[in-house]
C-alpha cells in the first residue's frame, strides 16, 4: 500500500536522471564546504536551495507537456515585458541592471527567459503546418534576438550567451538549413576585420582582455591565472578534499560560485574532473535519449534544447576556469553556490522528466 503510494508519488520522476542529479548535487555540497572555508552556514543555505529546486522539479514533472505548450507564449511575453521593465525601472547592482523590485521580492527576469525562450521557439515550430521555411527561421531568430538584446544591455553577457544557445539549438534541431549555417559562419568570419576596425581602442582592449585575460592580470586575468594554478597543481589525483592550498589560502576569487570548479579540480585532480565530465555526459546522454523518443515536435525540440543548454552551461564554465574560454559569468550547474541557477536547472530537468513520463498520454491523445 505504502510502496504503491510512493510509486504514484514518483511516477513522473525519471530514476536515471534523478540519481545522477542527486549525486552531482552531493559532490557539489562537499566542494562547497571546502570552498567556503568550512562554512556549515553556506552548505545549509545551499541545501535549502536544493530542496526548493527539487520541489519545483517534482511539480513541473507532474505537469503535462501540452500544458507547458499552452503556457509557452504567455510565459515568453511576460518575460519580455519584465525585461523591458528591468531596463526602465530595474535596480542596479554591481554596475548591471538585472533585478526588478516588486516590493515584496526581487526577481531576475533574465532567469525566467532561460526556460521561456526554448519553450516559445519550440511552440513556434510545432505550430507550423509545413516544414519550416526561411521566413519561419527569420521570425524565430527575431523572437530570440529581442530578449537577448535586452539582456546584453543589462549587461549580463553570460545569461545572454546561454539564452542565445538555447534558442539556437531549437533552430538547429528544427532543421535550419546547413547551407545557411555554413553561410552564416563564413559571413560572420568575413565581417570580423571590418567590425574590428569600427571599434574604439578601449572597446578593442576590452575584447582582447575577454579573449586573453592574462593581459589584465590585476583585473579579469587574475581569476584565470589563479584558477589555472589551482587546477594544474591538483595533478592526477588531486590534493584531497579540504587540502587545496590555492582554494584554502584565499588566492581564488569567487571560489564558491563561478570559480568553484577550480577548487574541485585542485582537490580531486584529473580523476575527479573526468568523473564530473562523465556525470555530465550521462545527464546529457539521457536528455538526448528523451529528446529522440519524444512524440511531438514541441517536446522533441524542447527536450533537445534543454539538454544542449545544460551542456553549454557546464562546458562554458569548465572552459573558462581552465582558461580555454573567455571569462563570462556562468555558474557550474548543480555545483556552484546559488539558488537561482539551481531552481532554473531543476525546473528544466523537471520538464525533461515530464516529457519522458507523459509519453503514453501524448501517443494516445
Amino acid at each position: 500500500m505504502f510502496s504503491k503510494l510512493l510509486q504514484g508519488f514518483f511516477k513522473h520522476i525519471d530514476s536515471f536522471l534523478i540519481s545522477c542529479l542527486l549525486f552531482t548535487m552531493l559532490v557539489g555540497l562537499f566542494v562547497l564546504y571546502s570552498a567556503s572555508g568550512h562554512s556549515f552556514e553556506r552548505v545549509t543555505s545551499q541545501l535549502i536551495n536544493i530542496a526548493v529546486a527539487l520541489v519545483v522539479m517534482w511539480l513541473v514533472a507532474n505537469i503535462q507537456p501540452q500544458q507547458l505548450e499552452s503556457i509557452a507564449v504567455p510565459a515568453y511575453i511576460l518575460g519580455v515585458v519584465l525585461l523591458i521593465a528591468v531596463t526602465l525601472f530595474g535596480d542596479v547592482s554591481h554596475g548591471a541592471r538585472r533585478w526588478l523590485n516588486l516590493g515584496i521580492t526581487k526577481i531576475q527576469p533574465s532567469e525566467m527567459m532561460r526556460i521561456a525562450m526554448p519553450m516559445m521557439l519550440a511552440w513556434f515550430f510545432a505550430k507550423r503546418e509545413t516544414s519550416p521555411r526561411m521566413t519561419d527561421f527569420a521570425i524565430a531568430a527575431l523572437l530570440l534576438l529581442i530578449p537577448v538584446a535586452l539582456i546584453v544591455k543589462q549587461p549580463d553577457l553570460g545569461t545572454a550567451l546561454l539564452i542565445s544557445a538555447s534558442g539556437f539549438f531549437v533552430l538547429f534541431l528544427a532543421g535550419l538549413s546547413w547551407k545557411f549555417l555554413l553561410g552564416g559562419a563564413v559571413s560572420i568570419g568575413a565581417m570580423m576585420p571590418f567590425l574590428w576596425s569600427m571599434l574604439h581602442d578601449y572597446q578593442r582592449r576590452r575584447i582582447e582582455i575577454l579573449i586573453d585575460p592574462t593581459q589584465d592580470p590585476l583585473g579579469a586575468g587574475y581569476h584565470t591565472i589563479q584558477a589555472t594554478i589551482a587546477l594544474g597543481s591538483g595533478g592526477v589525483t588531486g590534493k584531497g578534499w579540504l587540502n587545496g592550498t590555492q582554494a584554502q589560502l584565499d588566492f581564488l576569487p569567487e571560489r564558491t560560485t563561478d570559480f568553484i570548479f577550480a577548487v574541485f579540480g585542485e582537490e580531486f585532480g584529473m580523476i575527479g574532473n573526468l568523473m564530473l565530465l562523465l556525470l555530465f555526459s550521462l545527464l546529457i546522454a539521457r536528455g538526448l535519449v528523451i529528446a529522440a523518443q519524444a512524440r511531438s515536435t514541441f517536446t522533441r525540440l524542447l527536450a533537445g534544447s534543454i539538454t544542449l543548454t545544460f551542456f553549454t552551461y557546464g562546458f562554458v564554465n569548465m572552459g573558462m576556469v581552465s582558461g580555454i574560454l573567455p571569462v563570462v559569468g556562468v555558474p557550474l550547474p548543480f555545483i556552484s553556490y546559488g539558488g537561482t541557477s539551481m531552481v532554473t536547472l531543476c525546473l528544466s530537468f523537471g520538464i525533461l522528466m515530464s516529457i519522458q513520463t507523459h509519453k503514453k498520454l501524448v501517443a494516445s491523445g
Partner: protein, 654 residues
C-alpha cells in the same frame, strides 16, 4: 489544388531530427574531449610547474603605483608634487593584540598622540584587512631600527611610499584641492567607471579642487609585477612585469605670486576673489579666505584638526568662489544698465531727476535711494558712477523682470560657469515661474524694481560675478573659465595647451558698451563710489562697487555698522576690469561682513591689478586712507530677503 508548401512529413522530420541530435551529441563529445586535453595539459604535462607555483612558492600580482602628475602655476612654481617617505603600516586583521603591538613599536620609534588619533580614526573608517599608516615620515634611523626588529611584528610593515605634498601649504588650497585615502564611495565610483583595476595599489585619490576634477589625468596607469612570494609573503623572484605610466603634469593659468598678494590683502577678512583674463577665460587668481593646509588631508586628517576646520565659524573648508553665494547688490547695476540700453528702454541722453526715492504707479511705498535726498539730475553714465538706486528702479520696472533676466542670463547669472573644478553652484536668477514653483506665489512688481539693483532673490557666486565682469570686459564674448592651461605628457614630455572655449558671443551694441564702460571708469575717478581705488593707478580701471545686506533693514530703520555684530555687517563687493581700454584682467572681490565695496574690497582688487599689470608689489605698510573717500551707504529698502552666505545645498535654490 496542390499546396505550394509541402505538408510536414513526420517520418522524415523525425529522421532529420535524430540526425541533428546526433550531430549535437558529437559536438558534446568534441567539447568534452577538448576539456580533457586541457586537463591533461594542466594537470599532467605541466603539473610540476603549477605544483611549484602553488606549493613551495605562491604567485602574486603586485601592482606598481604610478607617480601622480605634478601641478604647477603658470610660471612653473610647483603647487603639488610627490616625494618618498618611509611609513609604518599595520594591517589590523593580521595583528593579534593591537595595543601591545603599538606599545612595543613605540619603544622603537616615536608614536605621537596625533599619530594615534589619526590611526584610530582611519581604523574606524576602513576594513581591518587594509594596511593603515601608524607613523609617516620616518627618518633613516627610525626606519633602520624598525627593520632590524621587523621579525617581532607580524602584520606591521615598513613601506616606502610616494607622498603628495603641497609646498605652498595654505596658498590656493581650494583651487589645487587635495588627495585623500580612497573610501568605499570612491571604490563604488571607480567600479562604475570600470577603473578599479587601475587603482589596485593606489591608496589615494583626488578629493577636491584640481586634484579631484583632473583625477583621470593626474593618476596615470598602474603597472604590475608577477612575482613569486614565499610563505611569509616576501617577493622572491619577478616573473614578469609591466612598468607603470606616470600621470600627466598640469600647468595652471594661475600666478601663485598674484594669488599670494590677493590672499595677503584679505588679511583677517573672510571672502573670495576670482581674477580672469577676459580674452581667454584663464583664471589668474582663485582666492577663498580663510584657507586651510591641504597637507593635513594627505596622511588622513586627525580628529582635532578636522573638528577645528569643520566647526570653525569662518568655514575655511567651503570653496567660496564656487559655493559661496551672495546677493550681487550694486555690482549688478552695469548689467541692468546694459539690459536697459540694449532693449531700447533707456536711450541717451535720457535722464531722471532723483529726489531720493522711487514709487510705483498707484502706490505710496517708497523705494529709497542710498543717498537721502537723492542725486538730482542723473543720466545712465552717472547712474553707474554714483550707483544711483532710483535710476535703476525705474529702469527695471520699465524693462520688466523677464527681459531683465533673459538678458543677464547671457552673462552667466543663474548658471554654472563651467570652470574646470567640480562642485560649482548655479546661483539664482529669479523669474516669475521660478517664484511660482518655489513659493507658490505670483511675482510682484516691487520685486522687479529691487532686482534692478541686484537685491531681492538674486544670488551669485564670486566665480559668476568674475565671469560676468570678464564677459563685459571682452565685449560680450563669453570665454569658458578654466584653471588648467596646459597638460604635459609625463611619458613624451610633450605639452599640449588647453584650447580656449567660446561659450557664447552676445551680440551687443558698441555704443551701449561704451556708455557702461565710461560709467564704470568714472567709478574709480574723483566723485565715483570707489574713487580711492583709482588714485595714481597709472592705468584706467572700470569698476563697480556693491554692498549686500546680511540682515534686512526695516523701512524706517537706519543702518549703523558700529552697533551691528561684526558677522551681521554687510558684505562688500567689488568688480573691475583693467586697463579699461584693453582689458587684461577682470575680477570680482567679495569681503564678507566687510561693509562698503569701495573701501573694503576695492583696495584688494587694486593690489591684484597693480601686480598683474605693472608688476608692482604692494607696499608693506598700507598708507592711511586717502582724503577723498565717499562712503555712500547703498542700502535699498528691500522686501524681506534671506541672504545666504554659505550655500547649504543646491536644491535649496531650486
Amino acid at each position: 489544388m496542390k499546396s505550394r508548401r509541402e505538408l510536414k512529413n513526420y517520418q522524415n522530420e523525425q529522421h532529420n531530427f535524430k540526425l541533428r541530435l546526433a550531430v549535437l551529441g558529437l559536438l558534446v563529445l568534441i567539447a568534452f574531449s577538448a576539456l580533457t586535453i586541457r586537463f591533461y595539459f594542466l594537470q599532467i604535462k605541466r603539473y610540476d610547474y603549477y605544483q611549484t607555483l602553488a606549493e613551495n612558492n605562491r604567485i602574486s600580482i603586485v601592482p606598481i603605483t604610478p607617480n601622480r602628475g605634478l601641478i604647477s602655476d603658470r610660471n612653473g612654481v610647483v603647487l603639488a608634487h610627490n616625494f618618498f617617505v618611509y611609513t609604518l603600516e599595520i594591517t589590523p586583521s593580521k595583528v593579534e593584540d593591537l595595543d601591545t603591538t603599538i606599545a612595543e613599536i613605540a619603544k622603537l620609534v616615536e608614536i605621537s598622540t596625533v599619530d594615534m588619533k589619526r590611526f584610530n580614526k582611519q581604523k574606524d573608517e576602513s576594513h581591518n584587512f587594509e594596511s593603515i599608516p601608524l607613523r609617516t615620515h620616518l627618518n633613516e634611523v627610525e626606519a633602520a631600527k624598525f627593520a632590524v626588529n621587523r621579525y617581532r611584528f607580524p602584520g606591521v610593515e615598513l613601506k616606502s611610499r610616494l607622498f603628495r605634498h603641497y609646498p605652498l601649504g595654505k596658498l590656493g588650497s581650494h583651487m589645487v584641492g587635495y588627495i585623500g585615502r580612497i573610501n568605499d564611495k570612491d571604490i563604488e565610483n571607480l567600479d562604475e567607471a570600470d577603473l578599479l583595476s587601475n587603482y589596485k595599489g593606489s591608496d589615494h585619490i583626488g578629493k577636491s579642487g584640481i586634484e579631484q576634477s583632473y583625477e583621470s589625468v593626474l593618476h596615470g596607469t598602474t603597472g604590475f609585477q608577477q612575482v613569486e612570494i614565499d610563505a611569509d609573503g616576501r617577493a622572491v623572484r619577478v616573473l614578469s612585469s609591466q612598468p607603470p605610466t606616470s600621470g600627466n603634469n598640469l600647468i595652471l593659468s594661475v600666478d601663485s605670486k598674484l594669488q599670494e598678494i590677493a590672499e595677503t590683502a584679505f588679511g583677517e577678512h573672510r571672502g573670495a576673489l576670482v581674477a580672469i583674463k577676459p580674452s581667454t577665460g584663464e583664471v589668474l587668481a582663485f582666492v577663498s579666505m580663510p584657507t586651510f593646509d591641504p597637507n593635513l588631508f594627505v596622511d588622513g586628517i586627525d580628529f582635532d584638526n578636522w573638528n577645528a576646520l569643520n566647526n570653525s565659524l569662518d568655514k575655511p573648508l567651503i570653496n567660496r568662489p564656487l559655493r559661496g553665494i551672495y546677493p550681487p547688490g550694486s555690482t549688478f547695476k552695469p548689467f541692468s544698465a546694459l539690459a536697459g540700453l540694449e532693449a531700447g528702454v533707456r536711450k541717451p541722453p535720457f535722464s531722471i531727476y532723483d529726489n531720493g526715492y522711487f514709487t510705483l504707479p498707484n502706490s505710496t511705498h517708497r523705494y529709497r535711494d542710498w543717498k537721502p535726498g537723492g542725486h538730482g539730475n542723473v543720466d545712465m553714465r552717472r547712474a553707474i558712477t554714483i550707483s544711483c538706486d532710483t535710476f535703476f528702479y525705474g529702469l527695471a520696472m520699465e524693462l520688466g523682470i523677464v527681459r531683465l533676466t533673459n538678458f543677464v542670463r547671457h552673462f552667466g547669472f543663474g548658471q554654472k560657469s563651467g570652470v574646470d573644478i567640480s562642485g560649482e553652484i548655479a546661483g539664482l536668477l529669479p523669474t516669475p515661474e521660478w517664484k511660482m514653483r518655489r513659493y507658490k506665489q505670483p511675482w510682484y512688481m516691487g520685486e522687479t524694481v529691487i532686482a534692478g539693483i541686484g537685491q531681492g532673490y538674486t544670488l551669485v557666486t564670486p566665480m559668476q560675478l568674475a565671469q560676468a565682469t570678464a564677459i563685459l570686459a571682452n565685449k560680450g564674448v563669453a570665454m569658458r573659465p578654466r584653471l588648467v592651461s596646459a597638460i604635459t605628457n609625463a611619458k613624451t614630455g610633450a605639452t599640449s595647451l588647453t584650447k580656449p572655449i567660446v561659450n557664447e558671443k552676445i551680440p551687443l551694441d558698441e555704443k551701449n558698451l561704451e556708455i557702461v564702460k565710461l560709467g564704470m571708469i568714472d567709478v574709480t575717478l574723483p566723485g565715483g563710489t570707489a574713487a580711492s581705488v583709482g588714485i595714481n593707478a597709472g592705468y584706467s580701471i572700470a569698476a563697480k562697487t556693491g554692498t549686500a545686506q546680511v540682515v534686512g533693514i526695516k523701512q524706517n530703520e537706519k543702518y549703523n555698522a558700529k552697533l551691528i555684530d561684526e558677522r551681521h555687517r554687510d558684505h562688500a563687493l567689488f568688480i573691475a576690469y583693467a586697463p579699461a581700454e584693453e582689458p587684461k584682467i577682470a575680477l570680482a572681490v567679495i569681503v564678507e561682513n566687510g561693509g562698503h565695496g569701495g573701501s573694503a574690497a576695492g583696495p584688494i582688487a587694486r593690489k591684484v591689478m597693480d601686480y598683474y599689470l605693472l608688476g608692482k608689489l604692494p607696499a608693506v605698510e598700507v598708507p592711511a586712507e586717502s582724503t577723498i573717500v565717499t562712503k555712500p551707504n547703498e542700502h535699498a529698502p528691500v522686501a524681506p530677503i534671506k541672504p545666504i552666505v554659505n550655500a547649504p545645498e543646491e536644491e535649496h535654490f531650486d
